[in-house]
Subunit: 189 residues, 4 copies
């Protein structure tokens, strides 16, 4: 059936859109019925695409991770100096995150698809940080895994600057990048 794949994607997309909007607005209290209605689709159809509320959130998360992974790929992190690559990473996350604000309103563990996120986002970031350590751009006296965690966490903080404080994407990214790279302490020239 030719229409199947296309239609499936269209419907799926409109459901994800509606879900993203509603969940961002009303948080976890948005009901499946509301989401279905807001997607212009029957409740049964919603369940056909995402058999569970949790599956829907995972779908949202998958889309977000796809989006983010695309931006990170496009950033060509391994072809620019480490400091620039870090800046691009922050900018990519903050920009993407603004699109998927819904996920910021939902519990942490729920949506982090452990596989996708790890392989498609964390891995390049880890590689970037390792390259930085290797070429002497980044300090080597901090535990690597902890730095990865802190950096990915700071990506969310940069997003929070935009969502909760109304900072511009560029300002938020720049500040976050600056803090991560050089810290808050005044440089003792």
């Amino acid at each position: 059936m030719a229409r199947s794949p296309m239609m499936r994607d269209r419907v799926s997309a409109s459901i994800l859109d509606a879900a993203a909007t509603l969940l961002a607005e009303e948080g976890d209290s948005a009901s499946m019925a509301q989401i279905a209605a807001s997607a212009g689709v029957g409740r049964a159809t919603l369940y056909r695409y995402f058999p569970t509320r949790e599956a829907l959130v995972r779908g949202l998360s998958s889309a977000a991770i796809d989006d983010l992974a695309g931006r990170i790929d496009a950033a060509a992190l391994d072809q620019v100096p480490v400091r620039e690559a870090v800046a691009r990473t922050v900018r990519a996350f903050v920009t993407a995150g603004a699109t998927w604000a819904a996920l910021a309103r939902i519990g942490r563990e729920d949506w982090k698809d452990p596989v996708d996120l790890e392989t498609r986002v964390v891995t390049p970031v880890r590689a970037l940080l390792e390259r930085g350590v290797a070429d002497g751009t980044l300090r080597r006296d901090l535990p690597a895994q902890a730095v990865v965690t802190l950096f990915t966490g700071m990506l969310e903080l940069g997003l929070r600057l935009v969502l909760e404080q109304g900072l511009g994407v560029e300002d938020a990214s720049a500040t976050t990048t600056a803090l991560f790279l050089d810290g808050a302490a005044a440089q003792e020239s």
Copy 2:
């Protein structure tokens, strides 16, 4: 009734304990009935103390903030050099946070009592950072509000190092402090 106040506190405490444990274990899916049972208390009594699930979470949050505020007071932030005060703040939060892991599993906006947290925790932190800027310890080229947000966010990240990666409290605090103050970039000689 003389026993009232004491009893109220005892019961309230055991409810909060049970809630903290259960919510930390099972997240948002723990039901009020489970919490009541696990506190050795009738469901009705639970509702007498916390008329709403949200009120219960707020109670948890209040206790956590009390705890944290106590530690911050005890840290005498304004009587030690800024760098040391920052380290103490991180350590205080990470230490306290481990006790209140439950709150880390629940959505952001739910539990942040906007008043208490702001006045008792954020204010001293803001003061500390302002002092740092004023005395030249901290850089002045970053937007103050954003730095406050990033720093408080990094406190949570430090906690995450402990909860999710099994890092020790001291290591997590040290790494977080180092990253916040001096950044990840290698110092240029």
Copy 3:
């Protein structure tokens, strides 16, 4: 709890009443929600009393059989001549049945609680017919079990005369009794 048993009965009765009315009116298409609403009770409460639609119908059936068994007991079938006892049985069934018209609109096998109906209604009827055969009032050339089945079936037919044809209870009973006892053929002088 003193109120429990009484209240349970009151609520249960009002649910059964509402169910009887609605099912008699609209047949199987009446929804559980409608029944609950019409009983002045929440849907959840309805399910607390009758965990399944089928259980509700069984409850209806139980009440109907109780009712009918009471009337049959009151008829003292074994203390009057067989012909009179047959007449009383028919009258009892037709009278009771009019109260439980709902069950006439629902599938046969669903509601016939095989135990209660058999022991409390069919047994006395069988005894009555056997007595009739023994004392020479009833013919002995027909298979006993078949006669029991035909008689109990004719009870339903007598009820049908009332429900579907608007015959009076007395007329319907008399005609049914007459047909069962003496048949439709003219007595040969």
Copy 4:
């Protein structure tokens, strides 16, 4: 298309067969999908032939009534004595009914096509009973309409003897006929 009419009948027949079997086995809980599958036909096709579940049941009923009407016609009721004609009617119904056991498991009002049944079955029966009254074979002291209802009802009871008690068709018919004509009371010679 020349093959249409034939095909329509073939498909229609296989659907009716499947429906009769399934409904007889599982009662009202058989789903349209099951019936379609069991007829080796797509669900959509089933709906093309019988746009509604109710229409399908009516179709079943129509076929049953056709069958029954054929047998009644063949019985030449008006050309034999009344008692014999009654016996033939009972035998016709019981024989036909065994083929359409499905309908015995479904609610009364659903399948009785008011037109067909009335004109093709009840009318001859009524005529037969009226003839009996007119020629003195049947008693005249019972309300005619009620006797018709009771007699048609007893036809179903005779069928029930076969379906539920395993009686042979001949025995069941004979007993039912005997009971209807001469009653259960011993003849007072």
